[in-house]
Each structure stands twice: as structure tokens, then as C-alpha cells.
């Protein structure tokens, strides 16, 4: 054969082999990465603020009436003598007394069953407008759209709970000792090795509480003379950890890469405030999925910036591990980046694994350092055996180690459910925030009174939802936040959508200016069903 043909053949071969590696990802479903945060309509913002103003005015009136004795004071009394400095400032409790208590029945609702796809809510009755509650004894079966149960592992039957029960019999419930003393059990090492493998990291360490994982370990990584660049919407545990570390904190606008870059440049050029010494190190703290917004962090761009400016990256994957990505490995999997590019992987076991606790993963040197200096490892009781075994068996299922396809099915079911649910909500005319693939689905309701109305009406229709307002969100951005689970069947989602449709009509929740407002029956069912079953 002529040399030209040979070269062509060689080129074709290499070209096709490139295609082959590309195809490994090509077979997996393509993600339409689309994030939307439709702007609050002006009239809605005005009405919301007006609503809060009326409530505050009423609150002041009621406080005045209580002060002059016309109305009974229902708050608890300080058992100490009057000349003690008051424990709470009056204004601190104004919100609690006059706004929160009115709708207190929609928060802290107790349940009496496993927090799975369906849940039993304990009915509470109040005779005095939510100041005190009594249980009626009735249990309301509802579809659970509020618990963090993304992969459906919150089950009281099945291999995971069996393993947990066996471990209680073998190890008891607690070790009563710290990791540094006698609390270091073999099953913890097994969990850590498995988790490190799952995340494709060198090593991992696990803790008993997700909140404490952030709050007690960030101080071991950074201290005075370091800079923390933290996203404005970061979880409070990250903020607490950053504050306790003593480092300087500079927030950057949510998911705004330009702002992050300008902050990085400014930090390196100007150095520390006052002394102008260069910063010892810079740590960027972001979350995988933001639980109130449903947005994903822009990981490839952050990694590019981090490499360009030699900063370190701390990623909190509390809501994304297990729930995002084609193999459930979080945003690292979703964006297909190299896990080694992220210096500190952090996450929790509460959401996708149906257990409790948190972990940090990364290079071995990092994890060794944390093992020695972590407040949690030195002073806290180590993890309980059943909690560890639940995670180990959930991980085995997700990774396919149990010999079944259950794990991959759950991941795909979740992705399916999320797409199905979101698309229909958006097509009905609700303002839905966040990324199309995030299992956290916030739907805006804006006005304070609607927070209670939506929750109560949805509960009447058999759906337990979570509605949040100020101060968890901005004043004008109250929302109802759905958490989709792989345990939800199509029937459950349809029921929830129908309920949302009715409640949306009753309470006027269709605010979108970009999409037409449609009732659920007006939607083209065949189209959604086809997508769901594909």
C-alpha cells in the first residue's frame, strides 16, 4: 500500500479511537445545563413589602395592647427577679411573637413514621392561635416532598436497615470514646476507605455530624493571615467554621465568576488589610448544590480561576453527593472534572445516604492533618455503628457492589423524577429557581401570608411541603422548596403536581412572565410521559 494510504489509515484509526473515548460519555444522557432565576415581578415585590408592613403594624398594635394589659401576654416569663438584665431584647422577639407565631403550625411539624417517600404527619390542634399545641392523635398520610431523601434510602426495611440492626447487635449503639482514644473502630476505617474510593480521592475521614464537620474542621485548615472567599449564599455551618478559624472572610456574589476573579486579583495585589503583607493562602469555599436556590456551582470556571491564582478550593457537596451526576458522584461527576483539582471535598451522609454525619476527602496529607488537629476527632464521641453501616450498605448499593443494578436505577429514577417535575411546574407558569437537574426545586411564592396558605392547602391535599420565608431567605423571596426523591413514583409526582396546580390557582402563585400560565389538565401529558419513560 502506498505511504499515503498507510498514513490515512493510521490517522483514521487514531481518530476513531478518540471517538471511542468520547463515546464513553456520549452514551450517557446529555445534561441540558440550564439555570434560571426569573426576576421578581415588581408588583409582587411591592405587595410583599406591603404585606410585611401591615403585619408589623399589627404587631406593634398587639404589643401595645399587651403592654397596657388589654391583651394577655402569652409568652413565657423569666423566673429570675425583675432587676436582672432582660435575657432577650424586645425587638429580637418581635418577629417571633407577632409574625412567626401566627404561622407556627407550618414549621416543625412532627412525623410518626420513617421519613421516606410517604410520611405520616402528626396532626396538631391549637386553641390559642398557635401559642400552644395539642396532638389530636390523628396521623395524616402524605407524600413527603420536604425531607432530604434524594436516593430514597430512608427506608425501614431492606438491606441497609438489616445491616444497621446487625451492627447494633455486634457493636452496641455508641463507643463512648473519641477517635483519638478508644473510639477508632474498624468499621469507621472501612467506611472511610469506601468513601474515598467512591469519590476517587486519596483518603477520607468521617464525622458524626455534618454541621460540625464544617464548623470544626475549617479552623484546622485556615487561620489568621489567610483569606477565605466564600459564596454569599453559603450554608451557615461554613460561615461559622470560617468565623471560628480567625481568617479574613470576603464574600463574593452568588455564582458570579467575574466577582470572584476580581476579588482574587484584589486580594493578591493588595495583600492583607493594614499591614499589606501577602496572604498566606487563599481558600475558596463553595457548595455543590445550594439548598435554597437549587443552583449548581460553576465548577469548571472555579477550577480554572483557582489554578490561575493558586488558591485552594473547598467544596461542600451536602446536597449534591449521590443526587447529581450520572453515577451519583456529585458535581465533580456532573461537570466531569478531575477530582484532584478540588483540594477539599466535603459532604454529608444525611441527604442521599439516609443516615447522619459528614466527611472530608482529599489528599492523604490533608486527611492526616485533619485526623490530628480536628476538634471533632479529639473531643467528640466517634460515630455510632448502625449509622456507619447504613452508609456502608447504601454506598455499596450505589456503587453496584451488592451485585444488583439498584444503585444506578435509583440515580436514574431521581434524574427522571426531577426533570418530569420541574418541566411541568415551569410549563404551568410558576417561577422555579435553579438548575434543571438539581433535585431541590424552589417555587417562589413571595408574599408572607401565602407561606402558610400553601403549606396548609398542600397538606389538606396530602402533600407535605416545606415553605420558607424570612430570615432563611430574603424578605421578598419566600418560597416553597420541593425535595424530589428517587422513592417518588410517577403517581406520587402527578398527585403532587395536581395539588400544586389547585393550590397555585387558589392562592395565585403563577407569577412567571416568561411562560404562559396553564392549568395541569391543559398540559400535553403524552409529551411528559414519553420523556419520563425514556
Amino acid at each position: 500500500m502506498s505511504p499515503k494510504t498507510a498514513i490515512n489509515q493510521k490517522m483514521n484509526k487514531s481518530f476513531s479511537s478518540n471517538l471511542k473515548t468520547k463515546c464513553a460519555y456520549e452514551n450517557e444522557p446529555k445534561y441540558q445545563d440550564h439555570e434560571d432565576f426569573e426576576e421578581t415581578p415588581t408588583w409582587a415585590a411591592v405587595v410583599t413589602v406591603l404585606g410585611y408592613a401591615i403585619l408589623s403594624a399589627l404587631g406593634w398594635l398587639r404589643d401595645f395592647l399587651r403592654h397596657i394589659g388589654f391583651e394577655e401576654k402569652k409568652t413565657a416569663h423569666d423566673p429570675n427577679p425583675k432587676n436582672f438584665v432582660p435575657l432577650y431584647q424586645s425587638y429580637e422577639c418581635f418577629y417571633t411573637r407577632n409574625l412567626y407565631t401566627r404561622i407556627r403550625d407550618v414549621f416543625n411539624q412532627p412525623i410518626a413514621s420513617v421519613a421516606g417517600a410517604k410520611v405520616h404527619i402528626m396532626e396538631r390542634i391549637s386553641d390559642d392561635f398557635n401559642w400552644t399545641f395539642k396532638f389530636s392523635g390523628k396521623k395524616i398520610p402524605s407524600i413527603n416532598l420536604g425531607s432530604y431523601n434524594y436516593l430514597g434510602f430512608a427506608e425501614n426495611q431492606g438491606p441497609c436497615s438489616e445491616q444497621a440492626i446487625k451492627s447494633i447487635e455486634k457493636y452496641g449503639v455508641s463507643t463512648c470514646s473519641t477517635r483519638h482514644e478508644l473510639g477508632n473502630q474498624r468499621y469507621m476505617q472501612e467506611l472511610e476507605t469506601l468513601m474515598a474510593e467512591y469519590l476517587n480521592a486519596e483518603d477520607c475521614i468521617a464525622f458524626g455530624m455534618g454541621f460540625a464537620t464544617n464548623a470544626l474542621n475549617i479552623p484546622t485548615l485556615v487561620g489568621q493571615g489567610d483569606l477565605i472567599l466564600s459564596d454569599r449564599l453559603n450554608h451557615i455551618s461554613l460561615i461559622l467554621g470560617a468565623r471560628l478559624s480567625g481568617a479574613t472572610i470576603c464574600p463574593f456574589n452568588h455564582n458570579d465568576m467575574k466577582d470572584l476573579e476580581s476579588q482574587l486579583r484584589k486580594a493578591i495585589i493588595s495583600g492583607q488589610p493594614r499591614t499589606c503583607r501577602p496572604w498566606k493562602k487563599i481558600l475558596i469555599i463553595v457548595e455543590g448544590v445550594y439548598s435554597m436556590e437549587g443552583s449548581l456551582c460553576k465548577l469548571p470556571e472555579i477550577i480554572e480561576l483557582k489554578k490561575k491564582y493558586k488558591a485552594y478550593l473547598y467544596m461542600d457537596e451536602a446536597h449534591s453527593i449521590g443526587a447529581i451526576g450520572s453515577r451519583g458522584r456529585g458535581v465533580v461527576d456532573y461537570w466531569r472534572v478531575d477530582p484532584n483539582d478540588i483540594d477539599v471535598h466535603m459532604g454529608t451522609f444525611t441527604k442521599s445516604f439516609g443516615s447522619a454525619g459528614g466527611y472530608i476527602a482529599g489528599k492523604k496529607a490533608l486527611i492526616d492533618h485533619i485526623r490530628i488537629y480536628s476538634h471533632s476527632a479529639c473531643y467528640s464521641t466517634s460515630m455510632s455503628a448502625p449509622v456507619c453501616y447504613q452508609i456502608i450498605s447504601a454506598l455499596s448499593i450505589i456503587m453496584g457492589r451488592d451485585g444488583t443494578n439498584d444503585g444506578q436505577q435509583r440515580i436514574q429514577q431521581l434524574a427522571c423524577n426531577v426533570r418530569y417535575f420541574r418541566r411541568q411546574l415551569v410549563d404551568m407558569g410558576f417561577i422555579v429557581y435553579g438548575n434543571d437537574n438539581s433535585p431541590v426545586v424552589p417555587v417562589m411564592i413571595f408574599m408572607p401570608a401565602k407561606i402558610a396558605a400553601v403549606n396548609r392547602e398542600m397538606l389538606k391535599r396530602g402533600c407535605a411541603v416545606v415553605t420558607v420565608g424570612f430570615p432563611a431567605t430574603l424578605l421578598t423571596e419566600s418560597r416553597v422548596r420541593f425535595c424530589i426523591s428517587a422513592g417518588h413514583t410517577k403517581e406520587m409526582l402527578d398527585h403532587a403536581l395536581k395539588a400544586m396546580d389547585e393550590v397555585g390557582h387558589l392562592v395565585s402563585l403563577r407569577y412567571s412572565k416568561q411562560k404562559p400560565h396553564r392549568r395541569w389538565i391543559e398540559l400535553d401529558r403524552a409529551d411528559y410521559d414519553k420523556e419520563y419513560l425514556s
Partner: protein, 475 residues
């Protein structure tokens, strides 16, 4: 030739000068003042003002150079692979009254298993029932369907145990007191804190950002001195003083020292100087007092006078988590303001079930658990004192004692030798581990913890082994 010119010049000068003087007389007064002022200003500018450096704006090239040159420190400093925390014993089995290490059974005097609830069958059964009903995790914070009926039951039981109005539970022992203190004490408030408190409480104090006044460990006179000083300071500005809250943060039984706080006097001072008492009874709950109700029972102090008692479910109760009890006025605030409560997942129901069953056992009338524990602690204390050569820190009735060597002999190396020797003889003890950034790092010591099920012979055996170890280490 010169003189006539000179005379003319002088005359001209004189005329000029005279006309200048005349013009001065004619100018308005304000004009003169203004002119003098201007002259003085110019003089000042020239002589006295320091030249302000002109702010140099960096060029893009310089900025890029700075960015390129900057080298961060490594994320973590190099680690010593021989650090004890990286070479911890790996266990595989129940850590109850006895532990199996490397195939050999040894008596456990090292874990906080005061009432021997670890491995208790009743508790295990209840925990298993809870898993069969609720699964393992609670999948949400308390505000969002993470409140399970078993949590409410546990809170009510704890409140009833202490005879308080309300209780609140947390999912992690460390976070309990670390979340409680910042919920009440803010930037302008004052905390009077004992120097010997546990690290978790130190973190709570730090997170609160309040003014902290440390007093020497268990030294009531030092506390009075600080209170009197603050009182004097307050009298100078009573209006400001009436907005500053004060708190006394103490432990019932100190984990780092094993001694009990002088509660009656502290309660007296509370009403004199008007502060609130937050007491952490992690170690004393379930160990001190006739019925295990802690230091208030031991000192016979009216519990209602303590504003808040916090404790943990991780020691005598043998579960995981923490709790606080007090009046509704105090506790209810935490449901919206304590970060570790509002923003964290709730306690797994199986751990709550285990805690409830443990409380049931503690509440049983004829258990005699606590009296036995205090009795054995007293006997152990006496036996330890009989081994001359050890310093024994702690109250005699405290089941938690700190053992150290006398004075200059007391090094971590020697204590580790004692621990290793004891392990070879079948006794597991441990050195109390601390992080270096403790506020007041205690001296190295062995933390001995008494399990209520230990028999006299076993205590005797412990003392024998300690005696032998002492001989070997001082040889």
C-alpha cells in the same frame, strides 16, 4: 558720581516706602487681616506641612507580576507520621466493661461508659425496634419534617427527669453547648468563665464574640473579685450596664480535673451580682447525686435557680447527642436561634430510642446505680491515694479521675509507658488527649473512668497494676 545717584535712589525708596505705609493706612481692616492670614498660610505650607506621598497607581504589568510572584503556603503543614493520633488502636467489637484488643480481653477504664449501658440488651432492643420503624436517619432538620415523635418524647422525659419545664435535644454532644452559648450571649455581653472548662465550651464562648472574663479554676474568690470589679465599672455607667447581659459558664463536674464546682456560693452570688448561670453537666449527669440528677442534687441546691443545664447523651446515657433543660422562657429561644439545632439534621431516631430506654433504666426505683457508683468511686479514690507516688485529681465521689506523676516526673512519655504496661497486664487506660490551642492546657494525665459494674477485685487489680507500673517507670 555715586552719591547724588544714591541720594536720589534713597529718596525715591523713602518716598515709595512712605506711600506704601500710607496705602496700608488706607486699606480696609478686613483686607489687611486677610492678607496676613494668607501669608501665614503660605508660611505654614512651606515650613510645617509634611509632604503627602502621591498614591502610586500600579500598572497592569506590575499587577500581573505581583499575581505571578505570589506563592501560597501549602494547604496543610507537613505531618508527623508518628503522631499518636495517626497510630491509634483499631478496635473491632463492643467497647463495654471489657474490650478485646489484639485478641486479648482487658478491663476498660478508659471510655465514658459510667453506667455500663454500652452493649446493654434492653437498649439494643429498643434501638433495633426504632430502626424497624423509622429507618436510620431522620433526613432533615427539626424545622422541615425532621421532628419525629420520639424526639418529642425524649425531650419531655429529660425535662421531667430534671423537673424542669422544657428540654431540647441536639444531634451532637460537642455542638450542644457550642451552639447554646452564642444563642444567648452576643457581642456586648459578659461571660464569666472558669478556666478549666472543656474545649467544646471554649468554642461556644469563642463563637459568641462576647467579652470573656476567665477566673481561676474553681476559685470562688477569684470569681468574686472579677464580679466586684465589674460591679464597680457598672456603677460608673449604669445606663450602659443595664443593657449588658452577664452569664456564668461552669461545669458541674469538670472533665479536665474531676472536681465539682462550688455551686451554692455561685448561686448566692448570682442574686447579688445579677448574672445567669449556664451549667454544663456532661460528666455529672447520671453519675453524681443520689438519683443521678447531678451537682444540684449533690449540693442540695434548688435546681430552678440554675438558668440552663446542658449535658450530653454520649457519656452515662450511652447514646449520641446532647441536650439542654431549663425553663420554657430560656429553652424555647434555642428553637429559632441555636445554629446547631436549626441548621442541622436531627438526631437519628434509633439513638433517641436508646436514650429513652437508658433514662428508663436510670429512673427505676430500686436500681441503686448511682449510690453504687459514688461508693465505688470513693473506694477507688482511697485505694489510689494508698499507692504513694501518684497525684490523684478529682473528688472522691467522682467516677472520673486524673492520675499523674509527682512534679517533674510527669511527662507524656512516662505516662504512655504506664498505659502500655497496663495494657500488657489486661487493663486499658488512656491519656487524656487535648489539642494545643486549649485556653488553659491541663497538665498531662491519665484519665481514669470508673464503670459501675466493676467489682472490688477488679479495682484492686487496677491498683496493683498501677503500682507495678509506677515502680517500673520511676526506676
Amino acid at each position: 558720581m555715586g552719591s547724588p545717584v544714591n541720594r536720589d535712589d534713597i529718596a525715591r525708596l523713602a518716598t515709595d516706602f512712605y506711600s506704601l505705609l500710607e496705602s496700608f493706612k488706607q486699606t480696609p481692616f478686613y483686607h489687611l487681616i486677610f492678607e496676613i492670614f494668607l501669608i501665614l498660610t503660605v508660611l505654614w505650607l512651606v515650613c510645617f506641612r509634611k509632604p503627602r506621598p502621591i498614591a502610586k497607581k500600579l500598572t497592569e504589568k506590575e499587577k500581573q507580576e505581583l499575581i505571578d510572584e505570589w506563592q501560597p503556603e501549602p494547604l496543610v503543614p507537613p505531618v508527623d507520621t508518628n503522631h499518636p493520633a495517626l497510630n491509634v488502636r483499631v478496635l473491632d467489637g463492643i467497647v463495654g466493661k471489657t474490650i478485646e484488643i489484639d485478641g486479648r480481653k482487658s478491663l476498660n477504664f478508659a471510655t465514658f461508659n459510667f453506667l455500663n449501658f454500652v452493649g446493654n440488651q434492653r437498649i439494643a432492643d429498643k434501638a433495633i425496634q426504632a430502626v424497624q420503624k423509622y429507618g436510620v436517619g431522620s433526613c432533615g432538620p427539626r424545622g422541615f419534617y425532621g421532628t419525629i415523635d420520639i424526639h418529642l418524647e425524649l425531650e419531655e422525659r429529660l425535662a421531667r427527669f430534671f423537673n424542669f419545664e422544657e428540654g431540647i435535644i441536639y444531634s451532637y454532644g460537642f455542638s450542644t453547648i457550642a451552639s447554646i452559648i452564642p444563642a444567648y450571649s452576643k457581642r456586648n455581653d459578659i461571660l464569666f468563665v472558669d478556666e478549666g472548662i472543656h474545649y467544646a465550651i471554649q468554642k461556644g464562648v469563642e463563637a459568641s464574640r462576647s467579652t470573656v472574663k476567665w477566673f481561676r479554676h474553681n476559685d470562688i474568690n477569684d470569681l468574686e473579685r472579677l464580679l466586684a470589679e465589674q460591679d464597680k465599672h457598672d456603677k460608673k455607667n449604669p445606663k450602659k450596664a443595664s443593657t449588658i447581659r452577664r452569664f456564668l459558664i461552669i461545669e458541674g463536674l469538670y472533665m479536665n480535673y474531676g472536681d465539682i464546682c462550688p455551686l451554692p456560693r455561685m448561686v448566692e452570688l448570682k442574686y447579688k451580682y445579677k448574672y445567669r448561670i449556664f451549667m454544663d453537666e456532661s460528666v455529672s449527669f447520671g453519675t453524681i447525686g443520689q438519683t443521678g440528677r447531678g451537682v444540684t442534687e449533690y449540693h442540695n441546691v434548688d435546681r430552678q435557680k440554675i438558668d440552663l443545664i446542658s449535658s450530653t447523651l454520649e457519656y452515662s446515657v450511652g447514646s449520641i447527642g446532647g441536650f439542654a433543660v431549663g425553663s420554657s422562657f430560656v429553652i424555647d429561644h434555642q428553637r429559632l436561634s441555636a445554629q446547631g439545632y436549626c441548621f442541622s439534621a436531627s438526631l437519628p431516631p434509633l439513638l433517641a430510642a436508646a436514650a429513652i430506654e437508658a433514662l428508663n433504666i436510670m429512673d427505676e426505683e430500686n436500681s441503686g446505680l448511682f449510690e453504687t457508683l459514688m461508693d465505688k468511686s470513693k473506694r477507688l479514690h482511697k485505694k489510689l491515694l494508698d499507692i504513694k507516688g501518684y497525684r490523684v485529681l478529682g473528688e472522691d465521689i467522682s467516677p472520673l479521675k486524673h492520675l499523674s506523676l509527682a512534679n517533674s516526673l510527669n511527662t507524656i512519655g512516662r505516662l504512655e509507658y504506664i498505659v502500655e504496661f497496663a495494657q500488657t497486664r489486661g487493663i486499658t487506660i488512656t491519656i487524656a488527649r487535648y489539642l494545643n490551642d486549649e485556653h488553659h492546657l491541663p497538665e498531662p494525665s491519665i484519665r481514669l473512668i470508673l464503670n459501675v459494674e466493676m467489682t472490688d477485685e477488679e479495682l484492686e487489680f487496677l491498683c496493683t497494676v498501677l503500682q507495678e507500673a509506677l515502680v517500673k517507670v520511676t526506676a
